[in-house]
Symmetry: C2
Subunit: 209 residues, 2 copies
């Protein structure tokens, strides 16, 4: 099997960290998004949504969507569990993973795509007003996560999970748009520092940010 | 247990159809969004994201996020399977569920919230340009789904799944913004007609749309 997508850029990073936590090695095949390689027919046949990462199995089956790819590996190698240790925990992890995707990553992504010059090619047009509307949503998500991390070491409970991977990745996006963690969010700051030092994260992204 | 959210409006509809397919009865407690009931402290304690539905278990545990709630019931009553019949199928269903959420439902929702008068109270400001940018994305999603439905009866394969529920619900949203299925998308039209006649769907939404 192989994964289409550059291992150190964008959503493939989430899969790379997930795999590192599991101790699974899968080759990544870089996809040059700046050249539009994800919009060519050969790639669209693998994922009509024109997005990386795509997991291609040995029989040619292609799985896209970061979280679906993570679940494939969770089923392939259940330990260490990153998507829940039992049925209820699985649901709690999914809830937090989605809260982080919709509450933090999604608005941060909109700010990037509609305000940063490098992202101009990613949208038909950049709408500054839409970017500005999303900035306070990111700050609200910081507060919600900080309240959660005041109660427990990781976002979905006592264990590191895929919700932490999504959140750490999204926090990296917020740095590019100058949305720093507010000073009062000390639990979120503590969590980010700890996660940055995990061998999986440091191994994929280099030294701690 | 009980579900906070009006059974026939918004995302709670997805859970209601899912439960009807499973043959599970759970009471829904209406939440008056127009009155801002979802932004009051009592509700925010159940879901800081201020969104319905929320599943409240008998011990007070609150689960939000539609798909996490669906997975709770999938684990509680595995048959009929709506989220995959084995590990690989589970991943395929999740992939399509997410493709529909991000490719169809998400842009349709943005068009509604940024162009329809009734939705003005849902956003800090309505940005018409953002609504217009999302309209072609909905049409592109129609094409992708039509291509998929040319090959198989349902969106994620031979069986009705949660991906069909998300897609059917999202199609209802597109009707409110005058984005009809293009005439060439006959497979999508066939699928929608069939899904509208399922007892679960007709039972929750009334007669076929």
């Amino acid at each position: 099997m192989k994964i289409h997508g550059t291992r150190t850029a964008g959503n493939p990073v989430r899969v790379a960290i997930f795999l590192a936590e599991k101790g699974i090695e899968v080759p990544f095949v870089p996809v040059d998004l700046t050249r539009g390689a994800h919009k060519e027919p050969a790639f669209l046949a693998k994922n009509p949504a024109a997005e990386v990462p795509v997991l291609e199995l040995d029989d040619g089956t292609c799985i896209s969507e970061t979280i679906a790819i993570c679940r494939y590996f969770e089923r392939l190698k259940p330990s260490p569990a990153l998507m829940g240790i039992d049925a209820l925990d699985e649901v709690i992890v999914e809830m937090w993973q989605r809260r982080v995707e919709f509450g933090l990553y999604d608005p941060a992504r909109h700010v990037v795509r509609h305000s940063l010059p490098f992202a101009a090619a990613l949208e038909p047009v950049q709408i500054r007003e839409w970017a500005e509307l999303n900035r306070p949503r990111v700050l609200r998500a910081f507060e919600i996560l900080d309240q959660q991390l005041a109660k427990q070491p990781f976002i979905a409970g006592p264990r590191f999970t895929v919700a932490d991977i999504t959140a750490f990745f999204a926090m990296g996006v917020t740095k590019s748009i100058d949305l720093a963690i507010p000073g009062g969010c000390r639990h979120l700051t503590r969590w980010r520092s700890e996660v940055s030092r995990r061998p999986s994260v440091a191994g994929v992204l280099g030294s701690a940010p």
